[in-house]
């Protein structure tokens, strides 16, 4: 079911070794501990402005009632939202930067992403609306659901779980 890699040479020599500076532009992943977050800063107030311009048309004026995913809502709300479901705040920065706005993905500057992140965290009452969001503060934001998440507990065999 697998090829015999024992017989392979140490290196085939196909492909090109790249320098760190060639990697930087692509290495956009952000870890829960903040690794990968760029320089920059954001706050909810500026985020609210950008949000109205670039996001509200799809997600609703207040992060609810839009045609697409509801983003704001607490545990009383049925839909999964950032406030009632997401376990890590860093995910928000990472995801907005790579994928939003849906109709112009990859168009936001890092500061804009920080602003929007601050706004959406604040709209979900996860941070004070005065908090500056940056590579130091973002990983520290407490997400209420975090400890509900467990790794897969199903195993091979007869268990139905």
């Amino acid at each position: 079911i697998r090829p015999r890699e024992e017989n392979y040479p140490e290196s085939f020599g196909f492909g090109r070794i790249v320098k760190e500076n060639e990697i930087t532009q692509f290495a956009i992943s952000v870890a829960p501990n903040g690794k990968g977050l760029p320089a920059g800063n954001g706050n909810a107030k500026e985020g609210a402005l950008i949000y109205q311009q670039k996001c509200a048309s799809c997600h609703g004026k207040t992060g609810e009632g839009g045609v697409y995913d509801r983003l704001v809502g607490d545990h009383g709300v049925k839909e999964k939202t950032i406030g009632n479901y997401w376990p890590y705040a860093t995910t928000l920065f990472d995801y907005i930067r790579r994928a939003m706005p849906y109709n112009a993905p990859g168009s936001l500057a890092n500061d804009e992403v920080y602003h929007l992140t601050a706004y959406l965290l604040s709209a979900n009452s996860l941070i004070a609306d005065t908090l500056h969001i940056n590579s130091i503060t973002l990983p520290k934001v407490k997400m209420p659901n975090r400890y509900k998440f467990i790794s897969d507990d199903r195993r091979d065999g007869p268990m139905i779980k």
Binding site: Y8, G15, T91, D152
Partner: protein, 383 residues
């Protein structure tokens, strides 16, 4: 045939006389550069805005024709020029490297047949659902590419690495964290499907193949792999593709697709006649081989062993068949898969009880069909 974009995908034999009276008395079409589908056959996927479902009830055997392989995307199907699509592998590696598609094709080749299934592959709530609607987000191909471990050998994985992040070149830069173990088990980077280059809808020119794991982890249009010592908790593994389970917990990194089966014949909206009916379907498990499929034709009171089509491959759709003489009386028929680890596909009620949830990801209950006295077939919900 037009697809949902209005693109013409196939036009055959427009020059032939209509009506055709007798094909034995008129020369047919000469050989061509590409074969065509008969105009009398129109299998199609069922598209929504984010997915298109395979018409399981219209297929034969176990290979899904490439143009009928299900689709699910998070930002549409990108248009990629393969000469500009390099794969970057970096992070906790000895040698960060970039590979062109040509580079990747030079490495030792591996080929395997397996299914890919979306973890959200369950629909219910109506008696008038077809197999395509119930669970058409699973398809099977013969995949060809390179073992991921072969590329990892080339770059040299640092001993502290325990996960890798896979990223697509679509407009969502779709990203998932994958335990490094999978790379040394059976993960591949594939560039071919059923003998030809992988189709754009399946990740052209490169996709990650994680046999038996949920579809969304098998990153399409694969562009970047970063070796890390932790999962990155991307949106697709936190907000999406996690499932609330019993006890108020939320299950994350639920990669493996549990064993499942479905009777695709007879199924809604068919009507059967009295007499011999070969019950047919497919069974599959993300954990390995299907060991056994059992069929009940008496509403679950007794179960009979179905015959399985060989070869029975690991993590592969396996066709099953059971010969039944229908006496004309109303009944319920159903199938359950048992895999080589001993997992037995549960009923809907068993699953609801175990999960504390009536659906969601990884929902793989037995599909029950009602045969009424007229031989009409309807889906039974909640049983």
């Amino acid at each position: 045939v037009e697809d949902s974009l209005g693109r013409v995908t196939q036009v055959a034999r427009q020059t032939l006389p209509t009506p055709i009276t007798n094909a034995t008395k008129i020369q047919g079409a000469p050989p061509g550069i590409l074969g065509t589908r008969s105009v009398f056959e129109k299998p199609v996927k069922l598209p929504s805005f984010t997915s298109a479902r395979t018409p399981l009830q219209d297929l034969y055997g176990t290979i899904t024709p490439a143009d009928l392989h299900f689709e699910r995307d998070h930002a549409g199907v990108p248009f990629i020029d393969p000469s500009k699509h390099d794969l970057l592998i970096h992070g906790m590696v000895e040698k960060p490297m970039s590979f062109t598609l040509e580079d990747i094709k030079r490495f030792p080749v591996f080929t395997r047949i397996c299914f890919i299934e979306c973890s959200g592959n369950f629909r219910t709530g109506k008696t008038t659902l077809t197999p395509q609607e119930i669970c058409g987000l699973t398809s099977q191909s013969e995949w060809t590419g390179v073992m991921l471990s072969t590329l990892f050998r080339e770059v040299g994985i640092k001993s502290k690495a325990s996960w890798f992040i896979a990223e697509g070149g679509d407009a969502a830069l779709m990203t998932r964290s994958i335990p490094l173990n999978k790379a040394f088990d059976d993960a591949m980077i594939v560039y071919a499907q059923n003998g030809e280059a992988i189709r754009p809808e399946q990740g052209y020119p490169l996709r990650l193949l994680l046999p038996g794991w949920e579809g969304n982890t098998q990153i399409k249009w694969l562009k970047r792999i970063e070796l890390t010592d932790q999962p990155y908790m991307t949106r697709e593994e936190t907000s999406k593709y996690t499932e609330p389970i019993a006890g108020g917990k939320i299950r994350q990194f639920s990669f493996v697709m549990d064993a499942r089966s479905i009777i695709t014949f007879p199924s809604y909206p068919l009507q059967i006649s009295r007499g011999w009916v070969e019950i047919r379907g497919i069974a599959w498990s993300g954990r390995g081989r299907i060991r056994r499929v059992e069929v009940s034709v008496d509403a679950g009171r007794s179960w009979q062993e179905a015959s399985l089509q060989e070869p029975i491959l690991r993590k592969a759709h396996t066709a099953f068949r059971y010969l039944w003489h229908w006496n004309g009386r109303a009944t319920l028929i159903m199938s359950r898969a048992i895999d080589e680890t001993g997992y037995r596909q549960p009923s809907y009620r068993e699953l609801v009880k175990a999960r504390g949830s009536k659906g969601g990801y990884h929902f793989n209950p037995i599909t029950v069909w009602e045969i009424n006295g007229n031989g009409e077939v309807f889906l039974v919900n909640d049983r």
